[in-house]
């Protein structure tokens, strides 16, 4: 099954999206004053679809995930606006009990660093069993059996033995598999994976991504994948949302984003990883300048100071959202013409 057939099925279906985020704003309070980390983030995710959220460090990818499950509050952040409709229910307005039922029940989450995301003093099997028993009325014994089944599902060898191990006794890849098993404990409809492979070595990364993709297909989940690895995006994503300084700058189907990006920032990101087209000996392409500090954002487009196409208007007013192609749009006054995505030789 290719990405395009999945997209067309999704796009033409009359079913409402599984997740519809609109106008999400999250602010962190710091000594330097309020920090607008997310500003008007909007995207949708259909059932069974894989959506990649990409951007540089500090662009707000992880905060978006943490905001959806309202975890930012524990980290000192505050959701100041917007809605996140999950199957018609606004996650941002749920009372605590209903929120707990959805967390780990209908929405699972995989963290970036599995060693720190597992309780160091509890056996793997007990942690998974506990996650199951939070949502299912199972006996301890039945929950343990289910935990072993889940460990087998994520392809951990000798799952009965590993269930009795503590997190520090597993390898990095096994820990991330265990973390995924825990997130899948109650067969969620949506799995949020926050840079699930960043802490792993390259071969393990490929295995974990293949596992996630396989599980998504088998269990019919939607996957919200947060990553800065465009190689991973090209491999598994159906659609891509590009974040820059807390704003969505471009979104669209993965093949459109890679073949014909509209936003100069997306183009810059792609150029930075398409090294095979470079003549040997030439300098590595980079986007000049730095991501602006969030407490000192420019008045207009946040990318304008680094953008080769920026003019006075870009510096003065934030660009509105524009559809540049079917299902593809960008927040840019001067989108790139179609067919310029390939690296110019």
């Amino acid at each position: 099954m290719t990405a395009s057939t999945r997209i067309s099925a999704v796009a033409e279906g009359p079913a409402p999206p599984l997740l519809q985020v609109s106008g999400l704003c999250t602010t962190f309070t710091t000594h330097a004053g309020p920090l607008p980390v997310l500003r008007d983030v909007s995207f949708t995710l259909a059932r069974g679809e894989t959506l990649a959220l990409v951007g540089e460090s500090g662009s707000g990818k992880s905060v978006t995930a943490a905001s959806l499950l309202r975890l930012v509050e524990a980290a000192g952040g505050r959701i100041t606006g917007g809605r996140a409709l999950f199957d018609g229910v606004d996650l941002l307005a749920l009372p605590p009990a209903a929120l707990r039922a959805i967390r780990g029940g209908r929405i699972g989450m995989v963290f970036q660093e599995p060693l720190s995301a597992l309780n160091p003093v509890q056996r793997i099997g007990a942690q998974i069993a506990e996650a199951i028993r939070l949502h299912r009325p199972l006996s301890r014994r039945a929950a343990w059996a289910r935990a072993v089944e889940l460990l087998a599902l994520v392809q951990i060898p000798a799952p009965e033995l590993r269930a009795r191990d503590y997190p520090h006794q597993l390898s990095g890849g096994q820990r991330q598999r265990a973390m995924i098993a825990m997130a899948l404990a109650c067969e969620p409809e949506l799995l949020i994976a926050d840079e699930p492979t960043t802490a792993l070595d390259v071969t393990t990364q490929a295995q974990i991504m293949a596992l996630l993709e396989d599980l998504r297909r088998r269990l019919g989940m939607a996957l919200l994948l947060i990553t800065h690895d465009l190689g991973v995006v090209a491999g598994v994503a159906d659609r891509v949302v590009v974040l820059y300084a807390g704003r969505v700058v471009e979104q669209g189907p993965v093949e459109r984003i890679f073949a014909a990006p509209l936003h100069p920032y997306t183009r810059g990101l792609l150029d930075a990883v398409r090294l095979e087209a470079l003549p040997p000996g030439s300098a590595l392409p980079e986007i000049p300048g730095l991501v602006p500090a969030l407490h000192d954002l420019p008045a207009g487009c946040a990318f304008a100071p680094r953008c080769p196409r920026a003019d006075a208007r870009c510096h003065a007013t934030p660009p509105p959202w524009r559809e540049g192609a079917p299902h593809q749009g960008a927040a840019c006054f001067h989108p790139l013409p179609a067919g310029t995505g390939r690296h110019a030789a």
Binding site: L71, A74, A75, A101, G104, L118, P120
Partner: protein, 280 residues
Amino acid sequence: MSAAPGLARRLLAHRQGGPGLLLLLAVLLLALFGPWLWPGDPWEMAAPPMLWPAEEAANPLGSDVMGRDMLTGLVSGARVSLLVGFVSTLIAAGLGILVGALGGFHGGRADAALMRVTELFQTVPTFVLAVVLVAVFRPSVATAVLAIGLVSWPATARLVRAQVLALRGRDFVLAAETFGMGTARLLCTQILPNALPPVVAISSLTIAHAIQTEAALAFLGLGDPNVMSWGTMIGSGREQLVEAWYICGLPGLALVVTVLAFNLLAEGLNDCLNPHLRRR
């Protein structure tokens, strides 16, 4: 958590923990088997007064100014000291964990209010407060335990709060939250098991301090009038300090040994329970 036998073995091998554990074991054995080995009422005037130790076979550690057997008194004192130490520390640890965990977890106003109460208790000299509490009620072992427990929790509360604050934002706690855990379960299954090792270590110090406080209360005559404690013995022998120093000296030595044992044990527990200092 590592198994208890493993911890005992590591403690025994520890430079301070080993001697501490052995000393404590000696006091514990004295308290447990003493009444059976040397039966008798510590208040009974069973011997001539002021017998020096080893003077009479029937009173191996001599007798005090009223002819009460020293050894029976020391055994009774060991039982009182350990009982008061353990139970009052249980109360202090319970209160401290409750206050610290709630403050650290919820933060904000609840935390500020709980910490002001903690500071209030910390600014009042603990011994004076304990004296007042015991004097207000009738002096007994129970009131001593309660009074000491009520004045000893602030240190534990501050420690637990700091631990909970540090653990609250850790990934595995957030992860557990994404599995749908509520506050009580997060605290009991994720945060507290990871916060407890230093609490165990500080509790050993709290026991040592509670034993000293009990002895001081008894010395001032605020102990249980029906129970012979080390403090009572020191108090009753203080006027004969020159001609019969052993009447104060022996219970004093017992007190020093017991308090030292718990201090050494605390040192050992701190090292053996700290995963950063422990080699796997």
